[in-house]
């Protein structure tokens, strides 16, 4: 018997990439996101200014405050004479990391609860009431209380930076999974009545593998949309927390913290909130467009048309 081979003329991911490239908006967004990533990851290696450096000499420090753009400080300096470009770069690292990780936490919780509620009728009412409960909670006060109560305790164990990061990511994750759960549940309810799920049952596929093989692959599109929106929402929520002064420590720049610091002098130095504002908006826009392109590319029915 000759060796049989399943001819794979092009791998599935090659098809996905080919379709993704057709989406002009998504490609532009991908380039934009890569530029942003390079800016925050590689930028600090090139622009070697300490974002927290404050001139110790008070007289010099006063001269360095609130400068406009110059060659020494391309984005100017803030009210303590710190370099804005360096602060933007370091702030972006935190903001992007918080956005990505918090989105993953929220998505994991949301998808798990949505799939369980949609697939197992017995769990449905309990899990959906839990979702309603979370939706009914006023989230911002809840977040503030969580930060207020646990920040010091966690910082004591894990250090101020890592501790705050984990706390913020968890707090955002557990307060923003509800939309994803609802969307996924609805989708699963429709999917599990489809005949291919019935066919899998008639084959004798156990429920866990039906979920993994048939349900999860088909809820991919709504999950991806929720994910891209989730990144945006997480970055903004982190900004809000930092903006309200309950996020990362004050000497620790994030885009939200930069906004918060700039708001005092919005009339005299508007550029100081314009830079982080633009950065946040561009990230959110880029991620949304990428999600859009990815959703189209992952659907075999749209692919190849």
């Amino acid at each position: 018997m000759t060796e049989l081979k399943l001819a794979r003329p092009r791998s599935q991911w090659a098809d996905v990439w080919a379709q993704f490239r057709h989406h002009k908006g998504a490609m532009a967004a991908l380039v934009l996101l890569i530029v942003l990533m390079v800016f925050v990851l590689i930028g600090p290696l090139v622009w070697r200014t300490d974002p927290n450096f404050i001139e110790p000499n008070t007289a010099k420090m006063f001269k360095l405050r609130n400068l406009g753009p110059s060659w020494a400080h391309p984005l100017g300096t803030d009210q303590l004479g710190r370099d804005m470009l360096a602060r933007m770069m370091f702030g972006g690292r935190i903001s992007l990391a918080v956005g990505a990780v918090a989105m993953m936490v929220a998505l994991f919780i949301g998808t798990t609860i949505g799939v369980l509620a949609g697939y197992f009728r017995r769990l449905d009412s309990w899990l959906m009431r839990l979702t309603d409960l979370f939706l009914a909670l006023p989230l911002l006060p809840l977040l503030l209380v969580m930060m207020f109560l646990f920040r010091d305790a966690i910082s004591g164990v894990l250090g101020p930076r890592l501790g705050t990061f984990i706390l913020i990511v968890t707090a955002i994750g557990v307060t923003s999974w509800m939309q994803a759960a609802r969307v996924v549940r609805g989708e699963v309810l429709a999917l599990k009545e489809r005949e291919f799920v019935l066919a899998a049952k008639s084959i004798g596929t156990p429920a866990r593998r039906i979920i993994l093989r048939h349900i999860l692959t088909n809820v991919l599109s709504p999950v991806l949309v929720a994910a891209t929106l989730g990144i945006a929402a997480a970055i903004i929520t982190e900004s809000v927390l930092s903006f309200l002064g309950l996020g990362f420590p004050p000497d620790f720049p994030t885009w939200g913290r930069l906004l918060f610091d700039g708001i005092d002098s919005i009339r005299t130095y508007p550029e100081r909130i314009v830079w982080p504002g633009i950065a946040i908006s561009l990230t959110v826009l880029a991620v949304n467009y990428i999600g859009d392109g990815l959703r189209d590319a992952l659907d075999p029915r749209i692919r190849g048309r």
């Binding site: 049989l4 001819a7 084959i203 004798g204």
Partner: protein, 349 residues
């Protein structure tokens, strides 16, 4: 028939499938939709039983309850010596390979995100202990069997026509060498030229692999073509169960008579059949009539029909009818011969 013919592979006795109705604020259980209400039949090894009836009469529910895709409310379904209706989940999983299903809508029964090879390979992955090479060999073998080009293995279902999709569905059902296949209106979603191809493929596979079919359809001419015996269902109950030729030549039950009179005769020179037009609508299965289910529309109805449900009894050798016209307690006006009061396979209802 009991001792003469081959041993029945599938034996269904008094199968009931009720779907509960919950109403009101407290979701109280206020009634049942009696989709299948006491159905008994048997299918012999290598035989095709056609199951016909109008939309909503419970044909598909019978098929799905038989494979326990629904949990039957009551009754026994003995397939190849084991009562499927009462197996434990793990035993049922072990039993699954003997019984498979071909679904109605080939578009909906294939996962749009899996390739053909993955779809056909899923049952092998679940039950057969094969390595990747062996699985691939079997997938190609199955694709050859149903007449699909091997080079299609990596394509997705959307790229295929309805007939090809149904072939994929058939290949998946064949993967584990089943003995019994429920064909749940496998041709209803296909156009006429493709219907013939698929039905011929099913027949061909039956002769080669010795399969036993329950062929559910509302297409009476197709059932005439493929089935050995035909069961006519009305409102969750079997009205008549007869050998094909006898049924099509001379239906006994008034409903079967009316249903068959609707079949078009392709030859215009033949005498046009007298059409029997039934009046009224099918009663709701949530609230079926007290007596015979067909008594509200039957042209030959008489008093007894409205009070007592007729059992499925043998009216002529090999022919079973659920109608008071043929019961010996009250031989109706058209009762042709003395009915033999013998329930099929001795099952009491």
């Amino acid at each position: 028939m009991l001792d003469a013919g081959p041993q029945p592979l599938v034996q269904v006795s008094d199968l009931k499938m009720y779907f509960p109705i919950h109403t009101g604020l407290l979701r109280k259980h206020t009634g049942d939709v009696k989709a299948v209400d006491g159905v008994s039949f048997s299918i012999n090894q290598g035989e095709t039983l056609g199951l016909v009836g109008e939309s909503g009469c419970g044909k598909s529910t019978v098929g799905r309850a038989l494979l326990r895709l629904y949990e039957p409310t009551a009754g026994k379904v003995v397939i190849d010596g084991q009562d499927v209706a009462s197996l434990t989940p793990e035993a049922l999983r072990q039993k699954r390979p003997t019984m498979q299903m071909v679904f109605q809508d080939p578009q909906a029964s294939l996962n749009p995100r899996m390739t053909v090879a993955d779809i056909i390979g899923e049952p092998l992955l679940e039950h057969a202990n094969l390595d990747e090479q062996g699985r691939l060999r079997r997938i190609y073998e199955l694709m050859d069997q149903v007449g699909l080009n091997r080079s299609f293995a990596n394509r997705y279902p959307y790229a295929f026509s309805g007939g090809q999709r149904q072939r994929i569905g058939i290949a998946r059902a064949l993967a584990l060498n089943p003995k019994f296949i429920v064909c749940d209106e496998p041709i209803a979603a296909l156009d006429v030229s493709i219907q013939a191809q698929v039905v011929n493929l099913l027949e061909d596979l039956q002769t080669r692999l010795g399969l036993t079919y329950l062929f559910i359809s509302h297409d009476l001419s197709m059932v005439r073509h493929i089935a050995d015996r035909v069961a006519v269902m009305y409102l969750g109950r079997i009205a008549e169960l007869s050998p094909r030729d006898a049924l099509y030549a001379r239906p006994l039950h008034p409903y079967a008579e009316a249903l068959l009179s609707a079949v078009n005769e392709p030859d215009p020179n033949r005498a046009r059949r007298q059409r029997i037009i039934l009046k009224g609508d099918v009663p709701s299965p949530a609230n079926p009539p007290k007596g015979c289910n067909f008594c509200t529309r039957c042209p030959k109805v008489f008093d007894l029909c409205r009070t007592i449900k007729p059992d499925l009894i043998q009216a002529e050798p090999g022919r079973f009818v659920a109608c008071h016209l043929y019961s010996n307690t009250n031989a109706g006006p058209t009762g042709t011969q003395a009915p033999i009061s013998d329930n099929q396979q001795g099952v009491s209802q």
